[in-house]
């Protein structure tokens, strides 16, 4: 039971974007992809989402190649949050969230209820009736997070009733980019909660301190490969980060902090 990449090779045109990557996200796990721009983080995420066809190797969902899943089946087991969405029609916020229930056929009352619960989970229940086009950028991103949460909803997310199926996966591409502090925290808290409720999270993050704080496991990508993988203490080392980012860094470990701090020198 996992979403995994096996000896994955990705090409874009003649360029090799990823060269032999192995990665698995299991139920209950929050995995952060970190690394410099152009290292292939977003490409890896897109491949795990099924958007990019591997040049070699494969993507497996519960041991079965992702390409063998029907679009509907796949959509009920994994949701993808892009960096930004382009929606220019004034839907109400709750309607946008309810779009997450598209893979479940004709909409019913339970779908509306799940949309509400997802919106409450990201802290925007009060905006349900507002036109989406009038929201701020940060609010929009949280609405889309609620949308993808409602797509792979599991009742354990808010502790209310409902039956529980096999674990689902949430793929987030820099969900905190261009967000203010409060919004960043709301987004990552919700993602963490999804993992704690038994789902798997794969999240591209630029901020190393966020990755260290929220993720169970960090994967450091550089030069088309994963060069380090493990807990924040294992991955956030001066040697690995200097190799990846090409600048000298200092690692600050303080007894009152649960994770190391990375300070560029």
């Amino acid at each position: 039971m996992s979403l995994s990449a096996r000896e994955l090779v990705l090409r874009r045109g003649a360029r090799v974007v990823l060269d032999g990557v192995d990665l698995a996200v299991g139920p209950g796990e929050f995995v952060a992809l970190v690394g410099p721009n152009g290292a292939g983080k977003s490409s890896l995420l897109a491949a795990m989402a099924g958007d990019l066809r591997p040049a070699a190797g494969q993507i497996l969902l519960d041991g079965r190649p992702l390409a063998d899943w029907s679009p509907g089946e796949r959509a009920r087991r994994r949701a993808v949050l892009p960096q930004a969405s382009t929606l220019d029609f004034p839907f109400s916020v709750i309607e946008v969230v309810a779009m997450g229930r598209t893979p479940y056929g004709h909409p019913g009352r339970s779908d509306a209820a799940i949309a509400r619960r997802a919106l409450a989970l990201v802290g925007l229940a009060a905006l349900a009736g507002r036109p989406y086009t009038r929201l701020s950028g940060g609010e929009r991103q949280r609405v889309h997070l609620a949308r993808v949460l409602s797509q792979v909803w599991t009742p354990a997310l808010d502790g209310q009733g409902g039956t529980r199926g096999p674990a689902s996966y949430l793929l987030l591409d820099e969900p905190t980019a261009s967000q203010d502090l409060g919004s960043q925290r709301a987004v990552l808290d919700s993602a963490r909660r999804f993992a704690d409720a038994g789902g798997g999270v794969l999240c591209v993050l630029h901020a190393l301190d966020q990755a260290a704080r929220y993720a169970d496991r960090l994967c450091l990508l550089a030069d088309q490969r994963i060069i380090a993988s493990g807990s924040a203490h294992d991955v956030l080392t001066a040697d690995a980060l200097e190799a990846a980012f090409g600048i000298p860094v200092r690692i600050h470990r303080a007894p009152d902090l649960q994770h190391p701090l990375v300070i560029p020198r």
Partner: protein, 353 residues
């Protein structure tokens, strides 16, 4: 925000939809009554009920004839064509994810216009040699085939690496429309006076050709689109998020886009084949529908169909009465009313942002 005010079940507005349907029906009843030969309400109802075996005895034979052979097929055709154009407009705006899109952008209208104009200008002498029914069928068939071919061409031009690129399709549609316009201009130059009159009348759109046999041909096609279009509502809503987002939600985007193009081509092809080019209904009606309800296609698609039907019935009734006994082409009325209305909508829209 109280919970009761939220849409539940999502996006449904049953009462407002019923109101729209009722208003459209009322418009149709009024349209049946007015015209060069007015039918008083009592006579209208009496003549309508006659085939059901209910004899109110309030109408004369000529009134019954006008209703059943002239007025009713015409109002039904207006409703069907208006509904088909309205839903095609909503489908196009969803397909192109652009509220300024209209059905003509897939090339169907200009293709149909070229087909019909060619028949009017070139085929006069051959048609005279054919039996009457075949001569009458040549124009709508040519229009329908022309519309289909042109749509296929635009769709083909927009294919890149086996995928349809919707933005390329939009630009290809603009180019093909310009080409079609030029071709019709050339045909107008070489047409003689009588052909020119036929051409102009057809390009302005008219419901004057409404007969039961025209309905028998066009109605099944347009009803098919009216029945199938709303089934795409949820997927079209998801498509507004973007193609890859819709794909993540389990929507087969390529299949959805092909279905949209096919439905629009069927509806507009049939409408143009029977009535000529009727402008602005497809562009404006979905905007009015959105303002009356929500932007979700679950409302917009059926509401645009009802609204398009009602509005075209009214426009045609105006065309028949304003200058009676002469007739104004219905396409001229829809464009005259639609264009300024659309500009007002645009103004309001930019003011709100």
């Amino acid at each position: 925000m109280n919970a009761a005010a939220l849409p539940l079940p999502l996006g449904r507005r049953p009462s407002r939809m019923g109101l729209l349907a009722g208003l459209s029906l009322l418009a149709a009843l009024i349209a049946l009554a007015v015209g060069a030969f007015p039918l008083p309400p009592a006579a209208l109802i009496s003549a309508l009920l006659e085939p059901l075996g209910i004899d109110l005895g309030r109408h004369a034979a000529d009134q019954s004839f006008v209703l059943w052979h002239i007025r009713l097929p015409r109002v039904l055709l207006a409703a069907l064509v208006g509904g088909a154009l309205g839903i095609s407009g909503a489908l196009s705006q969803g397909l192109f994810r652009n509220p300024l899109a209209e059905p003509a952008l897939i090339g169907v209208a200009s293709g149909a216009a070229i087909g019909a104009a060619s028949v009017i200008v070139f085929a006069g002498s051959w048609l005279a040699a054919l039996p009457a029914w075949a001569g009458a069928a040549a124009l709508p068939v040519a229009a329908f085939v022309g519309g289909g071919l042109c749509t296929a061409l635009v769709h083909r031009l927009a294919r890149v690496d086996g995928r349809t690129a919707v933005d390329t399709m939009l630009l290809a549609g603009v180019a093909i429309n310009a080409l079609g316009f030029a071709a019709i201009g050339l045909l107008q130059v070489i047409a003689d006076d009588e052909q020119l009159r036929g051409l102009t009348f057809w390009l302005l759109g008219s419901l004057g050709g409404a007969t039961w046999s025209a309905l028998a041909v066009g109605a099944p096609l347009m009803l098919l689109v009216l029945a199938l279009g709303p089934l795409l509502a949820r997927q079209l809503d998801a498509l507004l998020l973007g193609e890859s987002e819709a794909g993540h939600l389990g929507v087969d985007v390529q299949r959805l886009e092909r279905r949209c193009v096919a439905l629009i081509a069927l509806a507009v092809g049939a409408a143009v084949a029977l009535c000529g080019v009727i402008g602005f209904v497809g562009l404006v009606v979905p905007h009015i529908a959105r303002r009356l309800g929500t932007v979700s296609h679950r409302w917009t698609l059926p509401a645009s169909a009802l609204l398009g039907a009602g509005l075209l019935v009214i426009a045609d009734a105006l065309g028949r009465t304003l200058t009676a006994p002469a007739e104004l082409p219905v396409g001229a009325i829809t464009s005259l009313a639609g264009a300024p209305f659309f500009l007002v909508l645009l103004q309001r829209r930019s003011a709100r942002r």
